[in-house]
Symmetry: C2
């Protein structure tokens, strides 16, 4: 029984319809103000005391009766006797009964212990904080459906409110489903996966003020799932199911919801995030989120967050948006709304965004992302350099500490990134060929470029602008990574006989070297089968797992994955940067790190790296 | 001993100098990932497992060996036997050993239980999620000094990280000082104040990831204070003192800090927030915040928050800024940076900001504010209508649900505000005279105007634009509020003899009525002494507290404050609004509420109100 067809709805329409059909009747509870931080008011909060409750001194000075000062003048000071006609008073002290004005301390002449002099008349009620100036008893100090902030706690306590009526938070069942899942903390066997979405979902629910109820893993058995949903609906106000929302043979969620209640919508026209289920069981919303982390995250934001907002009657704020230039082309298919993760950097005062990996499974790219680029259904993307709007998922300004390094992929950048991160900066590598890297730098879409090997004479002439400088990175050993000694004798023979090869993107040094090698061996590249990976680490991981046989890499990555390493060549890598950028704080920090013993030692300890000249200026081209 | 002089430093300079002098060496602790939400990483976090760990199906379908499909064509399907050559597989399942590609379910022909048909060749590794596609073992998944979000928890768990090294949070002593303070929950006697800033400060510290240590109230005694600071410095990483940072006779804080360590800066050139103390005792920062809630709040944001950021090595994000038009003039003195609280509304798609009360004591205005308008030292403000930048302290878009009502102050608006708040809208009253209100509406700086009494014929002609409509608000009784029967017989006599009078702003109906009354009584307004308050409630509170004798108000407020009420006149109040605005969602909601039995009943129950025609359309002028 394979249900493969569904009728997708546009995101906004699906959400609106679902929210309209859901009805909540949350209950109210009274909590002490001291425990009310981040709770949501259920009714307007009314002051029980005025603030101030009686007139207070607004200055340090003496409290007087204004009418006693009318004759005062600089050449005719009025003397007042302390204790009867004038009383020393500090800011915030209650006004003595006889007084109706304050004369500030700097306008007072002290005659002796008993007397002060006044040089100017003061109108009554001058420098006095009036009753109710801040809050009047009976006044509404907080509206209903308001998230209580620390400043609100202060206002409530000051105005005599000690208990506050707040909405009881919704209890939300979180049910991870899938026979392949094991709980965090358990070691997964082959075919098993650690359940991690449930923890993510619970975290966001808690952030939004709900109480997550993690129900444990439910295997892919319809009866089991049915029972879990039934009991979750009994004890909770909403239910979130994770995975099982697609149409595969083990995706029973839809039929379970249909059996227990009804399905409002199955599937939205978005990429990623499509296989979402919106249902209602016994009047309670049941949301089936897709299993891929990115899709689960998006579904949670699109459908569960608005449910929580509806429960509390609050909006949690609109997306924080910025305009940025695109660092590379973004190409998508039409027919669904695309949500592209992007990283943002600031180059020469302008914001640049780079799309991150596309797959819905690539959770680490969301963790690294600064925001989303939303591409409308009928749109197929933008060119590099175009201006687009990004919805931020990090605080504004995070991008100021992001260093964009285009060009050659190299494991040394990881070490540099670690060093910089403990100083508050994030290195963001943009793996691409040398020429493309230079172009990117030229157009102001990155801070610097890592380049390796020789630079052609033509290029040197083109780059002969004294505003560009070259800095020694490190010297590196490159070669072949493999699980075991190549079967049929030589590597060239093995490749000809169909060894599974994994290689770097075109334009990179490793690719160039390999293409030259093929030419030497008389291999026609068109005869070769291979797959492309972004960096040594991805190639190493694939070989170690048996998904590829051989690839180019470095000794450090080979060692990390327990692979054999056959050295092939050695070369210098160098950074190219605008001369003036090196004087910026980020530039100075980079130079400092490159020259630091801790960076050099760490990189050399990895094996295959020499850092004797790291951070030395080579000069212009 | 009265120290009244201090050398103020500009805010930014004081902060930079203080932060430069403070040195932290936080320690690191290891916590389970499941408890790491919102903690800050102390080192880069490295993946322990690749994700995926082995090749996985990226689609539902059958797993095959690609080379078995090369001959397939729509008119020449290849048959594969299930179990040996093809295996049904769901998204996320591990790839069987023999297979290297997936054919999606919709491209498969089912022959029988044993066989499927393939109509096109598939390249190897098609529809397969490669090893390490998401995360490679050994890869850095989170940088150091990163605040852990729920999505990061998911990535860590998925990549085999179960414990994470995070910074130990700083312990921050919170010491409220002042002999006049009593703890929350205790009833203050005359001259006492409920300590509320400490709760506010602790709340923000907690939000920023620190651990507040509320030390209890310290009275204004130098020895006592000295001991408290000494013991706080021993057990905590930072100390925040509240109040006692000014130069009054009971402000010992500076001398205590000087005795125990040193004072880096006393006083910053800001309004409010000036009397701040920045000190260092035994290498630990000690911050003395002013006692007024607004000043305490600002000092906390300016100096304590950056300390926490420095401790963790994170920035908590830049201010979220918006450009707005000013609804009224903002006038400030030069010589210090002014921080003006503003409320923001959106009228016809444009953002408008109104300044709130100025005093540093008026905490409720901060609780109501949407953000800050920062006026540079050498600047003295802006005119209504000018564009300015506001730093938001609420989520973006909060203003969308704010209803700006200019014009006549009336306690009925409070009831309306309460009703609207439970429907997610905030009514923001802008008390001003009727003419000024119309002008404000005309210029698009408010949504509607409340007006009372007769409208002059001239005005009617001016307003005779069919795009404006009038709606019945309610009928109200107005009159005199006082504590006891006026002494010397009649009110006019009492006023002539110097009764303390409190009245509404000029241009309001109450003020107009009073001025007419004075004319009737033959009183010259210039002979009268009075103070101005924004609304009935402030007048009532002042009279009840004995700070005024008599004023204009309504029966409801008089009753609330236990005052006598002498009715003087009765009148209709009405709303004026742009006709098309009434069709907006906010307009429809307003009309609905005015006509609702619950609003009418609540307002009439207050006494002095009649709502028979509330929400009825009167028509144009």
């Amino acid at each position: 029984m394979r249900q493969t067809e569904w009728k997708l709805a546009p995101l906004d329409e699906a959400r609106e319809r679902f929210l309209r059909e859901v009805r909540f009747s949350p209950s109210v509870e009274s909590v002490p103000v001291l425990k009310a931080h981040d709770r949501i008011t259920a009714k307007p909060v009314v002051a029980r005391r005025s603030v101030p409750e009686y007139p207070l001194a607004a200055m340090d000075g003496v409290a007087v009766r204004a009418e006693m000062t009318v004759q005062a003048a600089p050449d005719n000071p009025v003397q007042l006797s302390l204790g009867r006609e004038a009383i020393w008073i500090d800011t915030g002290d209650p006004l003595p009964d006889f007084a109706d004005a304050i004369i500030p301390v700097e306008q007072i002449g002290v005659v002796d212990e008993q007397k002060v002099q006044i040089f100017n008349p003061v109108p009554s009620w001058k420098h006095i904080r009036m009753v109710g100036e801040d809050v009047c008893a009976g006044e509404t100090i907080l509206p209903a459906n308001h998230r209580i902030r620390p400043i609100d706690l202060g206002v409530m306590l000051a105005s005599g409110v000690e208990e506050v009526s707040v909405w009881k938070p919704p209890r939300v069942a979180v049910i991870p489903t899938g026979s392949e899942l094991v709980l965090p903390g358990q070691a997964p066997e082959r075919g098993q996966i650690v359940e991690s979405n449930g923890t993510m979902i619970s975290g966001y629910l808690r952030e939004w003020g709900a109480v997550p109820d993690y129900c444990g893993i439910v295997p892919d058995e319809p009866d089991h799932l049915l029972q879990s949903v039934q009991s979750a609906v009994k004890k909770c106000d909403m239910v979130v199911l994770n995975a099982g929302s697609s149409a595969g043979s083990e995706d029973f969620t839809v039929s379970v919801i249909r059996k227990l209640g009804r399905v409002v919508q199955h599937g939205v026209a978005t990429r990623p995030g499509k296989p979402v289920i919106l249902g209602i069981v016994e009047g309670k919303p049941v949301v089936g989120l897709p299993g891929y982390p990115i899709s689960a995250y998006l579904g949670l934001q699109w459908f569960v967050r608005p449910l929580i907002e509806k429960w509390f009657g609050v909006k949690m704020g609109e997306a924080n948006e910025i305009r940025v230039r695109l660092g590379t082309d973004v190409v998508v298919k039409t027919g669904a709304e695309d949500f592209v993760r992007v990283a943002v950097g600031e180059v020469r005062g302008e914001m640049v965004a780079y799309p991150l990996a596309k797959g819905a499974g690539v959770a680490s790219s969301l963790s690294r992302a600064d925001g989303w680029l939303r591409v409308p259904t009928d749109h197929n993307g933008w060119k590099a350099g175009e201006s687009v709007t990004v919805e931020l998922i990090r605080p504004r300004g995070s991008w100021k500490s992001r260093l964009l390094v285009a060009g050659e992929p190299d494991a040394g950048l990881d070490v540099l990134a670690d060093q910089l991160s403990s100083r508050g900066f994030t290195l963001f590598p943009l793996p691409m060929g040398q020429e493309e890297g230079w172009h990117t730098l030229w157009e102001g879409r990155c801070h610097l470029v890592l380049s390796a090997g020789d630079i052609s004479e033509t290029k040197k002439v083109e780059m002969k602008d004294p505003s560009w400088v070259r800095i020694h990175g490190w010297r590196r050993v490159r070669g072949w990574m493999m699980r075991s000694v190549s079967g049929p004798g030589s590597i060239s023979k093995w490749l000809r006989q169909g060894a599974q090869l994994m290689i770097h993107p075109s334009g990179t040094r490793s690719r160039q070297w390999l293409e030259a090698q093929w030419a030497d061996w008389g291999i026609n590249p068109e005869d070769m089968q291979y797959r492309v990976a972004a960096n040594d680490r991805q190639i190493g991981a694939a070989i170690a797992a048996g998904a590829a046989d051989i690839g180019i890499g470095c000794p450090a990555v080979a060692r990390e994955f327990g692979l054999l390493f056959v050295p092939a060549w050695e070369e210098d890598v160098q950074f190219v940067a605008p001369k003036d950028w090196l004087r910026s704080s980020m530039g100075r920090l980079l130079m400092e790190e490159l020259q630091s013993p801790s960076f050099r030692t760490r990189l050399e300890m990895m094996g295959g790296y020499r850092c004797g000249k790291s951070g030395e200026m080579i000069g212009s081209f």
